[in-house]
Symmetry: C3
Subunit: 340 residues, 3 copies
């Protein structure tokens, strides 16, 4: 096995991109929001591999590609395409009919970009935390790979940042609370990891609010966020106290996720989880903020993660953030497809 | 919750559109049939939400959008996208990950039109008859919504009318029989409701032929059809006698549907249903008509709803009607997408 | 029932096309490989009916159509579209909601080309060997039908030939080994049948290498290949000896397939199958060849059908062959869509 071809620029995590590069993407996204149609990708194409469901991502990529003269082809391996093996050197006598080496190799011949959504498997975090599936794709692909959510969700980070820049201009020095919320099942930590990374990257004073130590995010992301904050002049704090966390916040970002010590054991995690429904984002909590805005990546269970009152309030930016997925992904496609 | 934004023109039922407006759509459809390619929707898009299977609808929308420079994005919530909650105010701790408020809100940011297919659930007609799913979508959408079949099928109505106008010029005063046919299962009444509505709207003398009183359609559609007939100079009659119903008919339209008093109880309905296989449209019955034409919305089970002889006859317009789905939907997209 | 309309040119098997016609397609494919974008199919469309999974086929058709201004609409009957009945004269009171007569008829009104993938059912070879499903589609379609794999895979044949012509110029007189390989399940013989047909058609000296007589292909393909060889000056031999078969070969093509005498009885076939894992294509076997190239249609199970060493070698042309699917199918679409 060889390493990823260094001449190919992928978008696997925002941490691989400089703040200047990310800012360039966001500025291009603003231009595309103002002027959506162009022919810059005429005759080009992007393959979207979905190992998990999607509504916003597939729609925004398909529409965005079309607005620039390109096509997005949606593939769901294991459902309407062949099952895929991602590990190297395997004797493939199990379920998978095809290896990522060939999937990546073939798609690289057909298309100019490949997007992948591959949620973790929720069995073994020590494995899932390595993000090996998208890394295997990037290794074998000779065209740029875009992360459409694995254990991070960098497209969502860009959409969040375009939204916050639109509201605040700059988030440096502003208090941003990333709050855990209840959900009937332990979910992927990807968007939480991503919010932590991008908030600290752009200099916010980030507070991670969660019920207990068990809900801290993986050290690789906690450490990266600390390093980001040091570089950007921002900060990172952890809190388990709802009132003081919301106090004075200008940005409230919510997400539910599973406690990593119980990863793969949802019944055990439930004993912890069941007592924390009060983390729901409601109007009383929002009243504690400094005229704070609220956002969420969607999908969102109403009256579970946030109340109808919060979702329907003027300070709720969730639809703006969802819309901006379209613009940032178009900026990404334009930027990356020039590389072929 | 607020009512549907009155500045947005939806296509939920033909009853919301005037005869002049419907005629305008049909004339535009005729133009598009003669001259299929244009750039009127360049860079625009339509999202097609399918909660049920489709062949004609998805193909005709995808091809039609492309022929005008647009793209149709197909989404199957609960299968390849997130499950959706349609009721207001719910604590969403069940299966659905997302509320129609956000689905409609997000799609309104991405696309210019939203189509929805949402068959009734076949559990409780008193609920299903309110057509609450598409109404919830229309309420939350800021772009026009197109009904791709719920408890009515207005796109099919337009296709039927384009077909009949092509054959007869005008259907006013012509005898049109809407005949129930057998099918192994009790089906949706949507196309039957729709045939009743559009036939009476354009002045036909409509006879609803069905095995017994139990197969009458919902009073809201029977009443609307009577009112339509009064306004148009047509008429509406009910018959359970096959011979007199076919006698002198110029148009025979067939559909199978379930008896509403047994809605949600298919085993009980079977006791009624099993004795009515003879309602099949065959050449002997067609011979009773006044050189009548036959049509059906498709899909059709051959030799169950209609014989091979009828389906393969020159007087069978089912393929023409199916083709016209393409043209009328293009006319609809052109007309509605100008509203954004 | 009437026969297929002879004015419509289909692509069901390469045997229906002359060597000159096939060569014309390959030359056009070479041009399209060098110059991929054109507007020759502006506003045209192709429907792709998949009764089985696909990755290469759907991506290459969708991307290829787009590169020529057309659209490919993907349909999966029985999954996201209605189930289809293919037999004539049936009383359709089973699972299928729609007959191929209407599916073909309607699609012929919407699109300019129809592709179909319909693998055999693995129950009764005496029925499956007639290829009745795609023949029923072609019979009822008024637009050209493209075989996307049934009991032959003619698009793959063209891709293989474009690849071999790119390497050798001409394959006449070159030794080509079609080797059976092990796989955990008995697979479709389609690509094996196709390799036999196209190799002999273009004059290669073809050796069919398989474990025993039970793995011979259907007589209709063995006989057609012999006739092809006689016409082209090539030859066809059968071998069960690995060493002598590989000896001096310039082309090694691999495929796994089920033994026809045990068709529909995978457990019985397993008793034969289990002892033949050593048919895997490995570097030792390739060393016996005359600097031979290796290829496979993909998907391929690594270290089951061929080793990592073979797949990653310079002589492996599998990715080139997969890429050429795009070019030959574009040539096919251009050639056939002119017929409407």
């Amino acid at each position: 096995m060889t390493d990823t071809d260094e001449r190919v620029k992928h978008f696997l995590t925002t941490q691989d991109w400089s703040v200047d590069e990310l800012t360039g993407l966001l500025e291009l996204a603003d231009q595309l929001k103002a002027d959506p149609l162009n022919d810059s990708l005429r005759g080009k194409s992007v393959a979207l591999l979905f190992l998990n469901p999607s509504m916003r991502t597939r729609t925004s990529f398909q529409v965005g590609a079309q607005q620039m003269g390109a096509i997005a082809v949606v593939l769901a391996p294991g459902q309407d395409a062949w099952g895929v093996e991602f590990a190297p050197g395997v004797v493939m006598d199990g379920d998978a009919e095809e290896h990522i080496a060939e999937v990546a190799g073939v798609l690289s011949r057909y298309v100019d970009l490949i997007g992948l959504r591959a949620f973790p498997k929720f069995r073994d975090w020590s494995h899932d935390r390595t993000d090996s599936v998208i890394k295997a794709l990037a290794q074998h692909s000779t065209v740029p790979v875009i992360n459409m959510e694995t254990i991070v969700h960098p497209c969502q980070e860009l959409a969040l940042m375009q939204t916050l820049r639109g509201r605040f201009g700059d988030i440096a020095g502003r208090k941003m609370v990333l709050t855990w919320t209840w959900h009937p099942r332990p979910l992927n930590t990807a968007v939480a990891n991503s919010a932590l990374l991008i908030g600290t990257r752009f200099g916010a004073d980030v507070t991670l609010l969660c019920p207990s130590e068990e809900y801290l995010l993986d050290p690789q992301f906690m450490d990266a966020a600390k390093a980001n904050a040091e570089a950007s002049g921002g900060s990172l704090q952890v809190s388990h106290d709802i009132e003081s966390a919301y106090d004075g916040a200008e940005i409230v970002y919510a997400k539910s996720w599973g406690a990593l010590p119980y990863y793969g054991h949802p019944e055990e995690e439930w004993r912890l989880r069941q007592h924390n429904k009060h983390f729901i984002v409601d109007e009383a909590k929002m009243a504690l903020t400094n005229n704070g805005v609220f956002s969420h990546c969607l999908p969102l269970r109403r009256n579970v993660k946030a109340t109808d009152g919060v979702m329907d309030a003027d300070y709720c930016l969730a639809l703006d953030e969802a819309e901006n997925r379209l613009h940032v992904q178009k900026a990404l496609m334009m930027t990356l497809a020039g590389a072929k």
